[in-house]
């Protein structure tokens, strides 16, 4: 049941194969994984935030910032690639840290914190570029998102790291935090620290996704637009409960692959466009509604804060 999403994924891939058998060949499937890679990585990062009971709406604009900054600083110069890559990772970590500290320590709801961060970053990008990004990415930068082998390897590495992290003590304390903050705190979990780290992971994931997307398609000032919703949709599609406390990171990444497969299928059958947004909207609403009607669960797993309420 936990991995039901992979059944859906298999069905979608089969449907794609009817129109386009190429996807069943190794090269075709890997090309599909390459295309899905940024979303898979974003979903892995978003999983940590969502399972801890929060949201990260800033990842889309963070991806844009990463790509625009990279192009401006590298400016076609191969030698600048590695220092800029390091800077981009640091930038992602920093944005995540700010999101985490403001949410966990200043107690600003993450919806507001990360919405604010999204607006700040989009505004800053627009101010800095004036709507037209400058500079160019180097070939050695673009290889990570453009070369299929690199893209697949990075995705596997990120996936493996995410799984290890969820299996470690940290993963369990994070789920406990999302499930019941007070209970977790009373049993010795440092709730604030766990949440801050979750945001830092999400920021890191956005940095990596930005590097991959810039590599895949080049410089654009709209590259990250809407990605935060795609990432949240993917995580929800993977059966992770909005509000936290339930779900697996593997299923979240499966959700990202499924979402990408769905877009590919729509495109293959010539019904792209508006329906993509509709599909995402229906998934988010349906998933939250499905979570709400599981009434018996309420008696087994109390809602956040209930343990202390009586």
């Amino acid at each position: 049941m936990k991995y039901a999403i992979f059944v859906v994924l298999a069905l979608l891939l089969a449907a794609i194969a009817v129109a386009n058998p190429f996807i069943l060949e190794p090269a075709g499937f890997l090309a599909f994984v390459k295309r899905a890679a940024p979303l898979v990585i974003l979903a892995a990062g978003q999983y940590f935030v969502i399972v801890s009971g929060e949201f990260d709406l800033s990842v889309g604009s963070l991806v844009t910032v990463e790509v625009v900054v990279a192009a401006r600083l590298i400016d076609g110069n191969e030698a600048a690639t590695w220092p800029v890559l390091a800077l981009l990772i640091a930038l992602g970590l920093l944005v995540g840290l700010v999101n985490g500290v403001v949410t966990a320590l200043l107690r600003v709801p993450s919806f507001i914190t990360t919405l604010g961060m999204m607006l700040i970053l989009s505004g800053a990008v627009f101010l800095w570029t004036g709507g037209a990004p400058r500079g160019a990415l180097s070939q050695s930068f673009r290889v990570f998102g453009r070369d299929t082998l690199w893209a697949v390897l990075i995705t596997l590495a990120v996936g493996a790291a995410a799984v290890l992290l969820t299996r470690a003590t940290y993963g369990r304390t994070l789920i406990a935090t999302g499930d019941n903050e007070r209970a977790a705190a009373l049993s010795g979990v440092r709730v604030a620290r766990a949440r801050i780290l979750a945001f830092v992971i999400s920021g890191l994931a956005a940095a990596i996704a930005g590097i991959m997307l810039g590599g895949f398609a080049g410089v654009s000032a709209q590259v990250g637009q809407g990605l935060e919703f795609s990432a949240i949709t993917a995580v929800v599609l993977g059966g992770v409960a909005l509000g936290g406390g339930r779900g697996s990171v593997v299923a979240a990444m499966g959700g990202a692959l499924t979402l990408e497969a769905m877009f590919t299928l729509l495109n293959l059958y010539g019904i792209s466009g508006a329906l993509e947004y509709t599909v995402q909207g229906v998934i988010i609403v349906a998933a939250v509604a499905a979570g709400a009607v599981q009434l018996p669960r309420l008696f087994i797993t109390p809602r956040k804060g209930d343990a202390h309420a009586s």
């Binding site: 129109a19 386009n20 190429f22 996807i23 075709g28 090309a31 295309r35 940024p38 979303l39 709406l57 889309g60 604009s61 919405l115 999204m118 607006l119 989009s122 505004g123 627009f126 004036g130 709507g131 037209a132 990004p133 400058r134 500079g135 160019a136 453009r146 997307l213 895949f216 398609a217 080049g218 410089v219 654009s220 709209q222 590259v223 990250g224 637009q225 809407g226 990605l227 919703f229 795609s230 949709t233 877009f263 590919t264 495109n267 293959l268 010539g270 019904i271 792209s272 466009g273 508006a274 993509e276 947004y277 509709t278 995402q280 909207g281 229906v282 988010i284 609403v285």
Partner: protein, 406 residues
Amino acid sequence: MRRSTPIVIVAAAATLVASGCTSDKPTTTATQSQNPGASQASATQAPATGTGEQSKFFVQADYDAQLAMRTKTAQGPADKPWEQAIDPQMVGTSKYKKSGSIHLCFSNAAVNNPWRQVGWKNMQAEVGLHKEIAKFTALDAEGKDDKQISDIAELTGKGCDALIVSPNTTATLTPAVKAACEKVPVIVFDRGVETDCPVSFINPIGGYAFGADGAEFLVEQVPAGGKVLALRILPGVDVLETRWSAAKVTFDNSKLQVVGVEFTDGDAAKTKSIVSDYIQRHGKIDGVWMDAGATAVAAIEAFEDAGLPVPPIVGEDQQDFLQKWKQNNLTAVAPTYPTYQWRTPVIAALKILKGEEVPKAWKLPQPKITSENLGKYLQPNMPPLHYALCGCESLPGFPESWGGKK
């Protein structure tokens, strides 16, 4: 990869930031390809060549006029196309004649894309050339009709000697422009308004010529029966609808098979994915038509990454595309919608205030870049999204102000 989800409330806030993205979302996409053999057909009766229904925006008379203008010689200095005019019908302006220093005003629709960025730089530099302009007041409507309406009202009360308007949308801004006409001489450029009260309306030949230039190139270069993929940004925008509708007429009258008409939202990753899907599905795509060149490089890369030769392709005058064209020796063409048109309104305003005649409909030439004149427009020192036909090379501050290197 760009996917907004308007369902969630936050998207409303997001669109405030991404100002200018107010256009309708696509509702239908034509991908049928039933009848590659239909060769002879009139423009109004669309045969089934996979191009779908003709656009509601298509006006046969405008189409005919624009296509005819392409071969006409523009009047004026050949080395300054922004001062040239095709078939000018001059109007007298002696009633606006004024001596002394000038206060020039400008209501700008937006500066939210690279094309408008380059154009805005051109206009500012043009203003700087003229000492008689003592004051230049410009307001940016940030892509919002309501803001531009109040901007225009505000500017008309500020003692402007002439008002330049680049309307955000045609119908909605018409009353505001009409009201301004009663107080100051108005010059409109780029998109139009539904009134002839402005002293002069300046724009290049237009979207039909743009669309036809690209489509005719593909008809010449792609063998009969070849599969063409048409990529559009989004539906419902008049300047883009005219480009596609002219291309559709050309394709309908050709032996080419349009295997898909897709909307890319102007997003590079989405463009690359769509082109990759079509390559996989059809094995081979023989030509790519685009209604704007911003994502042309992404389309080219889809072929490169699939290990296929890049087929004949239509781009625009952005440097990244021109560079790729040169490097890979592509079979390509770049119709243009020149940003040098941003210089003309300033020149027109000064003429009007001197009482000199100006063309009522000031039609600027709209050249296309071909492999013969590519070298002239390729500028490796300029940023990738710079538009080559800026006419800005001789302006002060070039190239640094446009983001280029000396």
